[in-house]
Symmetry: C2
Amino acid sequence: MENPPEKTPAAWEGTPSWLLTQTAHHAHRLVADGFSSVRARGYHYRLLATLEESGPASQAELGRRSGIHVSDMVATVNELSDRRLVERALDPSDRRRNIVSLTAAGRRQLRVLEERLARTQEELLAPLAPEERQVLTGLLARLLEHHDRRSGASGEARS
Amino acid sequence: MENPPEKTPAAWEGTPSWLLTQTAHHAHRLVADGFSSVRARGYHYRLLATLEESGPASQAELGRRSGIHVSDMVATVNELSDRRLVERALDPSDRRRNIVSLTAAGRRQLRVLEERLARTQEELLAPLAPEERQVLTGLLARLLEHHDRRSGASGEARS
DNA sequence: ACGAACCGTTGGTGACTCCAATGATTGTGC
DNA sequence: GCACAATCATTGGAGTCACCAACGGTTCGT
């Protein structure tokens, strides 16, 4: 051709939304890669971590706590209970519910995932100085809180 | 129940990767919402913008320029050409290729999408002061560049 | 006891990304 | 010139994350 020399950096590449989503894509890939080496994915970690933090609960309750949609919770619990990382037991006091709880193996798996996750954070923020990392997380946290409030506003378990 | 009072903020909620992906999720939703009101999605905008910036090209070439996977390019071009926003013509000099080009309607649509996108950026960054916005985009850009280099390293059409 | 609300489950949608395989076409090496 | 390699468009699939509608079973409020 006769017009390719132009190295146009693409209009959208400077937009905050692009920077955010692309960086997040890298972050997600790093996390997923770290998890996949132990046959896990994001939902697995979130569920295990939620279970350890707030204890056994019904799937609906866990969904509220972890932000995982109830219908996705089914598959997640299935996958984890197939590998004996969580246990699904009937609630004798309410036969609608399954009470999901962490097994010893699940707790061990969680430790592994936490370690993987921590290493990923390092990798993700590698090019930034400690100070800059704080600035970044601070700004992101503010953005996140702002948008969480106006839409969804999840994370309310309190009565 | 009898044990919900604990308001555990969840371990992962402070991790940079969580903040990033969640904020990006909001960003993506805002952008998608803005686009969907004119029946468009991210790929449509990216393709239209790429076409305007670097001119008509084959689908493979457009894929390289826009970062859209070739197999997704097919569907994207289909959708846009169905609505006469782009044109798919056979390349007389190479019968393997389709030469995709922008129509007048496509250019108009691009103007609309750009306007939507710009408004979305405002919405996204609403809680941040102008100075903070610059800091954020700067940090994100550095992260993105870093990770773009080590993986993929796409965006190289020049020799 | 009846209806409302809740629970788990199934099955589907959508966006974005990526991969493998295929047939047609072009270019290259010999 | 011809066989082989490379390129192009296309199809079909996968995987992650998120969300929705509907179902039957269960419990709760009235």
